[in-house]
Symmetry: C2
Subunit: 409 residues, 2 copies
């Protein structure tokens, strides 16, 4: 048996990141309408003040605040109404002591006024007089120019995922074309003579092809571009041809193979033949995930990943290595893990990091992490998991009630 | 001033849900490749055992476990090798005491064998003899038929969002066409004479149209179908025409208006004219979110929502009412809130539920919720928030260090 140099998770990540630095994602400009869920490739710096004018945050009267001194619910002050400001139009009056102007929510506060009295505290007399029943302090209900965003502010950082609030912020700044990272192009190849198409009934010894579907979904969910996904028979010539084809078109090839030693060796030999540098990680000290192999084709700038054949292991490794890597190269901030209490004792694996799938549930004393048990080949266990706990290779295990960090998928 | 009956958040949700029960989303079948992120409309019940056969989880030898009694690293047992089972093919031998068969990971365990000895603990002699150096218990490294999924198991429940593990599970069961909820068709109309297109520079008193973009993004993120999105001037005839058009084609119309009283009244009058039942919620005891109005067109089965004009308020109300509603009608389970400690004292609003935006950060004593301050019109505050805390209307406020539930966007 071949003696294998197995990498820790940290070592494998370091090697991958080093390779990925040679194939950093390109950037592109997309229309704001198409930017949802994309990752910003540059800081967005505001070229303007938002708001650009003094804006009222209520329906009411723009006043000199000193004029309202002493006003109460029973004793109003009376002011002359100079103007009814219209929304979307400039205010034209100049407020001086003894005068005011009506301004609707969002409307421009006229020069001279320094506070708003809400319409609820007013009583209008004819067109040009109003009684105000509130003593308002300086600045009340006025949003100042630049109070939302100032010229030169970094409003959104590179690495930010564009959600509703970010889309609104970009709209406010007039960012019509948004600089985002171009997703890596990915090919998924599942290998195995035991695999049958999902519309077929497996015969004895056969199983339906799970990994093509689960990994394709994960690739898309991560924001990467799925170029092709197919199952391939365990024929060395055929597999090599498929990989060579994929390397030409893609930034990342995921080969999920059977986890038997022979198959892993075959994938490794093919990858070594295809790329000069070949495979740099020959196995992972990770449970599950041992049969993982990693490499890089320097010439074509393509990352090569051989994932375990077990579906749950393949998904866990994809998450721990490639979702992680994509977030690294696109500057996405880490999502903070959740703190939860273990519901049970659990042994670690000496010399290996254990990726323990857990379900989260609320208990009176806080969030609980309940391990989702099952052999790594069982796909149904994976579907129940909300996230995972990493048990360090030097840790004997976890105790019931121990607080752990839960990373979400 | 018109006296308004304002609903609590709970009342508004109840009324919306009652209306939505008359326009429940339809279901449709989509190909598994297109099912990512869709919501299952039916429970998925397995018609099969997975695995369907006894499967080895290691590379090794299928044995009668009793034959390995006494085997150690120095004293092997010798067995006759009857067969090399190939992956994807039925095992043909029948293992009896004194015999065994080689089985790769994922391969079929032959009849008679009841445990696997890993290849690491074996030494092969020629084609038909092997020395085994491990005493294995009954059942070791054999996955039994149905151990992953049993016939009749509910494997995935209606309301489940299809992610990678769910896609894999559906593939394993041969679910080629997936029953999912058809998304509601949604129209977004932003009204306001102050709005200019995002590619224009706002003049005095004008602002760029934010809500069309932020709400469109949120509609898509929620999994709903965005049919149209546009800004409309504050002209009653024009707005009514636009809404009448949208009602014909959509299940939900979102009208985000200016938050001034006059504008709210105009939207209310139009909605009352358009639908017989008209508006059933005339304001919300929610901060921010007061100018929210809700209605239902019974004839066209269309939900009508008038959202505040302030961008952050519009997004908060959309989340609290319509994201909530969509999850309700599609049976999606609630995501458990996170527990976090407040970093500061904060007053509530008497008689109103306060929706307080917070940023989450890890501190030595656990997760902290840091309020994101800002008037509700400020879009930049929203972009920083990870979630929100609801301060009950009967609660005076929150104390620094108090544990709160944080709901994520």
């Amino acid at each position: 048996m071949k003696l294998l140099k197995v990498d820790t998770l940290a070592q494998a990540r370091e090697r991958l990141l080093k390779a990925a630095k040679e194939c950093l994602p390109e950037t592109e400009q997309v229309a704001l309408a198409d930017a949802s869920d994309r990752i910003l490739a540059e800081d967005i710096v505001s070229g303007e003040m938002i708001p650009a004018f003094r804006r009222s945050s209520v329906d009411g009267y723009a006043v000199c605040s000193k004029d309202t001194a002493g006003a109460t619910e029973s004793i109003p002050v009376f002011l002359k109404v100079l103007e009814e400001v219209e929304i979307g139009h400039p205010a034209v009056s100049k407020i001086e002591p003894g005068t005011c102007a009506y301004v609707p929510t969002g409307g421009m506060v006229p020069e001279g006024a320094d506070a708003m009295v809400m319409v609820e505290y007013s009583e209008r007399f004819g067109t040009d007089e109003v009684a105000l029943y509130e003593n308002v302090p300086y600045g009340k209900c006025i949003v100042l120019p630049g109070e939302d965003v100032k010229t030169g502010d970094i409003v959104l950082k590179a690495g930010t995922r564009i959600g509703p609030a970010q889309a609104g912020t970009l709209a406010a700044l007039g960012v019509v074309q948004v600089p985002v990272f171009k997703p890596w192009k990915v090919a998924v190849l599942s290998t195995g003579d035991e695999l049958v198409r999902i519309d077929q009934v497996p015969g004895p010894g056969q199983v339906r092809d799970i990994n093509t579907w689960a990994l394709s979904c994960y690739v898309k969910k991560t924001g990467l571009e799925l170029v092709s996904a197919e199952a391939v028979r365990d024929e060395e010539v055929l597999l090599e041809e498929k990989i060579r084809e994929a390397v030409k078109a893609c930034d990342l090839i995921l080969i999920s193979g059977g986890s038997s030693q022979g198959k892993k060796d075959m994938t490794m030999e093919i990858l070594n033949r295809i790329s000069k540098e070949g495979v740099f990680t020959h196995g992972l000290a990770l449970k599950p995930g041992k049969p993982t192999i990693l490499g890089y084709d320097k010439e074509k700038h393509t990352l090569l990943g051989g994932l375990p054949g077990h579906p749950a292991a393949a998904l866990a490794v994809f998450h721990l290595l490639f979702v992680w890597l994509w977030k690294q190269v696109t500057d996405q901030p880490d999502q903070p893990p959740l703190e939860a209490f273990m519901t049970t004792n659990l042994a670690g694996a000496p010399g290996k990091t254990t990726c323990l799938l857990v379900k989260l549930q609320m208990a009176p004393q806080g969030l609980e992490a309940e391990p989702v048990f099952g052999k790594s080949g069982l796909i149904s266990t994976m579907a129940e998991a909300d996230g995972y706990v990493l048990i360090d290779m030097n840790q004997e295990g976890l105790k019931k009630g121990e607080q752990v960090k839960v990373y979400r998928f």
